[in-house]
Amino acid sequence: MNRENIYFPHLAQITRILPQIEDHKLFGLTFVDKSMKDNFSYRPGQFVELSIIGTGEAPISISSSPTRPGTVELCVRRVGRVTNALYNLERDDLVGIRGPYGNGFPVEELEGNNLLLVAGGLGMAPLRSLLWYTLDNRERFEDVTLMYGAKIPDEMLFKYELLSLLDRPDLRCMLTVDKDEEGIWPAHIGVVTTLFDQIEIDPSTTYAAVCGPPVMYRFVLEELLKRNLSKDRILMSLERKMKCGVGKCGHCAIGYKYTCLDGPIFTYWDAINLPELI
């Protein structure tokens, strides 16, 4: 075949496995092919198709930032056939990667604005990419705020990494847990929406990037709309069943949009027009 075969995965080696919380690990992957390793670029919010040969493929959002090339990091929850098989692998084992796919966050459009990142639970996985992208290009953005809520301290992804950002002067890092029965949590306690009282939002210069479980969207959207943030300045990263990642297999189609091509980042205005979206 003359042209590139869009269905061939590229081999990548597992170079790092960092356990996060129960059934969640961060896998660092490095392409075997040198030109792939050097040239693989992506936008925050994009995803890849992860192949475990003989088992299958699954879409996984990228948790690393393109500002730190060489290794692609995927935060993977052990939840299905493919992710189970991944958990059986060890350092130096090979996996397949296709991508990057999806629209990703419109980072150029976000530049020069305030950014409010709101994550709930596992929603931090794709937002971590955007977080490090903004921190590594800090001069291109105005105020950057992260609000991240987990149920309990033991369920917070990238906990130590994020705790180390609490003192950073150029980031308002607001971490919260719903409950802290052991009394070990050094930061805020309460659901993520309780953080909104502590901040001011200038709707004319702010974009919000939201990712979390379906129940979280409703409450966070309510807070954002109450503060007059425009519907197309609210960006959400959404999950759908995907097989191909390239707009062929049909699984992720919602109304007239394909999550894999037109998403996974949608504005709240998109969501209003696509009743099934959230």
Binding site: T55, R81, N84, A85
Partner: protein, 257 residues
């Protein structure tokens, strides 16, 4: 990875599913090499009756109190228990007369000798123990069994069809026996995996693989009635292989008509 330790067992059934495994002639050596088969009464002697098992494959339905014990014992030994064949998955043909009195049936079939053993209504394995996976079919399909076994060797759970026989029937471009010939075909509500073998030979699907996930039996019954079949005809066909499964009971609104 160490070879999975496997036991293959038969309860009440025709042993056809175990026979399918033995009939994998060209593949059996590879398979036997990749699995550590410790128990397979139908095929070998010196069976290990006590070892822990990674995978237990169990054929047949439960029709005797002794079989409940046998099954519970297998369950306690196995990490994964896989029901193979329609009897093990749905109760099988022997569940057809489940609503009739066991004692009466026993007298009819065994006469005075029937006093020597107990029987209970035919039930699938899942009525008694947790079943991790179900490979249905009467008998199971060889290719499906092999792929399932290979998946397990590879360390994955098998992927089985979640769609109806109609899908495979259309893929083969068989003439529709339901629409073109008005036959009592259960293709729309029977789980695929057989590659629509019977319709390809001009025979309607009799549902031997059991119901598909979320089978719309009420709609199937309605359309068959519109084609002129009586409720008795339809019920008999539904219950031949799916007797014990709730979905195969004719929808409540249809009962008694």
């Amino acid at each position: 990875m160490a070879k999975p330790i496997v036991g293959i067992f038969g309860l009440t059934g025709c042993a056809g599913d175990q026979l399918v495994i033995l009939n994998c002639e060209d593949e059996l050596l590879d398979l036997a090499g990749a699995l550590d088969i410790r128990s397979f009464h139908m095929a070998m002697s010196d069976n290990d009756e006590d070892c822990d098992l990674d995978i237990a494959l169990v054929e047949g339905s439960v029709v005797q109190p002794e079989e409940v014990e046998m099954l519970e014992r297998i369950r306690s030994r196995a990490r994964l228990l896989i029901a193979i064949g329609t009897c093990a998955v749905w109760g099988g043909v022997q569940a057809m007369k489940n609503e009739e009195q066991r004692e009466k049936l026993k007298r009819q079939v065994y006469g005075p000798k029937g006093k020597d053993f107990g029987i209970i209504p035919s039930q699938p394995l899942s009525s008694f123990v947790r079943v991790d996976y179900a490979i249905s079919g009467c008998p199971i399909e060889k290719d499906q069994f092999l792929q399932a076994a290979l998946s397990l060797i590879h360390g994955d759970l098998p992927v089985l069809p979640d769609y109806a026989v109609c899908t495979e029937c259309k893929m083969r471009e068989n003439s529709c026996l339901l629409l073109e010939r008005g036959e009592l075909c259960l293709g729309p509500i029977t789980v695929a995996g057989c590659n629509a073998r019977c319709p390809a030979y001009g025979q309607p699907c009799i549902g031997c693989r059991g119901p598909v996930e979320e089978a719309n039996v009420a709609s199937e019954v309605n359309l068959l009635r519109e084609k002129g079949f009586t409720l008795v005809d339809i019920q008999n066909r539904l219950r031949t292989f799916g007797g014990q499964s709730e979905v195969m009971q004719v929808a409540p609104t249809e009962r008694g008509r």
